[in-house]
Symmetry: C2
Subunit: 300 residues, 2 copies
Amino acid sequence: MRTVKMQPEEPGMARASPAGDPVALICGGGSFPGAVAEAIARRGRRPVMFGVKGWADPKVIERYAHHWIAIGQAGRLFRLARAEHCREALFIGTLLRPPLSQIRLDWQTLRLMPRVIRFFRGGDDQLLSGVASVLEQGGLRIIGLHEVAPEILVPEGVLGRYRPSARDSADIARALDVIAALGRFDVGQAAVVADNNVLAVEAAEGTDNVLARIAELRRGARVTTPPGVGVLVKAPKPGQDQRFDLPAIGPRTIENVARAGLAGLAVAAGSTIIAEIAEVIAAADRAKIFLVGVSADTRR
Amino acid sequence: MRTVKMQPEEPGMARASPAGDPVALICGGGSFPGAVAEAIARRGRRPVMFGVKGWADPKVIERYAHHWIAIGQAGRLFRLARAEHCREALFIGTLLRPPLSQIRLDWQTLRLMPRVIRFFRGGDDQLLSGVASVLEQGGLRIIGLHEVAPEILVPEGVLGRYRPSARDSADIARALDVIAALGRFDVGQAAVVADNNVLAVEAAEGTDNVLARIAELRRGARVTTPPGVGVLVKAPKPGQDQRFDLPAIGPRTIENVARAGLAGLAVAAGSTIIAEIAEVIAAADRAKIFLVGVSADTRR
């Protein structure tokens, strides 16, 4: 068994990850954990899945070396990660704030609880950063997707055949401003703007829900901008810890944008997860909507 | 026929409204136009309803002296208002941004169109302020509800039997901050905050839709704060022209707040419409939720 350094990294201290070093993937729901595991394996590192019970999809998790953990089992996670020689861990997939009744605490977590509880009352960002600092105390460095699988992130520029018009670009800028204005409330990874009107702001409901709402408001004539006008913009909150809860898009996002009658979607380049990028681009082209990665520089 | 002054008022010039002076009510949908007409009549002025075709409810409009107008018929409105001796007009009821195809223009409106079109691309506030300035040029002074029927507006303080807890008060303050942060985007008359988490921000969908969403997210375990925690806050956007589009609550709002599992609702005192106040308070007491009018002073 290799010796594993269990002390937290010095801040700012760069550390090389040997090519063969395994990575612990703490996996929530959805298919993204599988896409990330594949990308990590392609780069010659071994993914070890830690599926969160109740959230992670067994079909996704069980294709790789894996363990199941419950929220609150930090001790178990440390033990298993150590046995698997993982020094780095990555959060990936949907992991919603759990109801307290579903949390199963182990002794080590209980010892850490006073710190975690403090974070629980903030927004998701605060909670996750808190959890990360607790895990790092236990010797697991929490890394970001850009460090191990940057190809899973949306690149900058126009990705498909269609491009945003000048009006679309103005709508994109306004939606980014809305997201920025809400950043300090730890809310709002997405907004819909059509011809300068803010039609929707995402909070707890998720992007699919936002798009379904636009489609429905359109049917009920509460949204009266003509089809083909308007954009969905997804971006992390300003100052968001890039290791957690990055916005994600997939083929279904494209379908829903089209169904909502929008011209296209813009996402933050370098910090939006896109699995199956070729399929997503093909879907956008078929739906005749644009898909563009906007750089952080274009954000005011 | 009385001589009617058709020149716009000098800005800042106070003008007494003789008790008997009729008031033109430009009526959108919902039941509020009826409640306002009643309050105006109780104060000894004659309400004249101008129902907007496609929006106003004939059952509400036809209980009073009334005319029907289409959006875009400013000339017809001026003519009829003059014949009815109305020098003051009030906008009341739901009036959503109409699809261009539904607008019927008369000649006088066509002459005014270049000015109106400029306003059309802004948010609702800009559009309405634009329409108001156009109507004032035609000799109709646009007044606010507080000038003719202040009893239709929510007063300050706790209105029912239940009071907000300290946590509720903190949630109310946070929701008011969210609404304030979105004001410059001409969006967001309501937000839901539960235990410091922003669960929903209203844009084009309307408050009933927001509350239904919270109830549904709760059923799907995407909202995990326990029932009885969280507040709905409604307030005009900061700097909003108080003559238009004030937030409104009724017994249905109370039912929906209760169904969403929230502790209560807070609304901006003096600028939130409440028809049937006794019924609304009784409904809040029955549902064991608080209802409070918060003063502008408590807003940061």
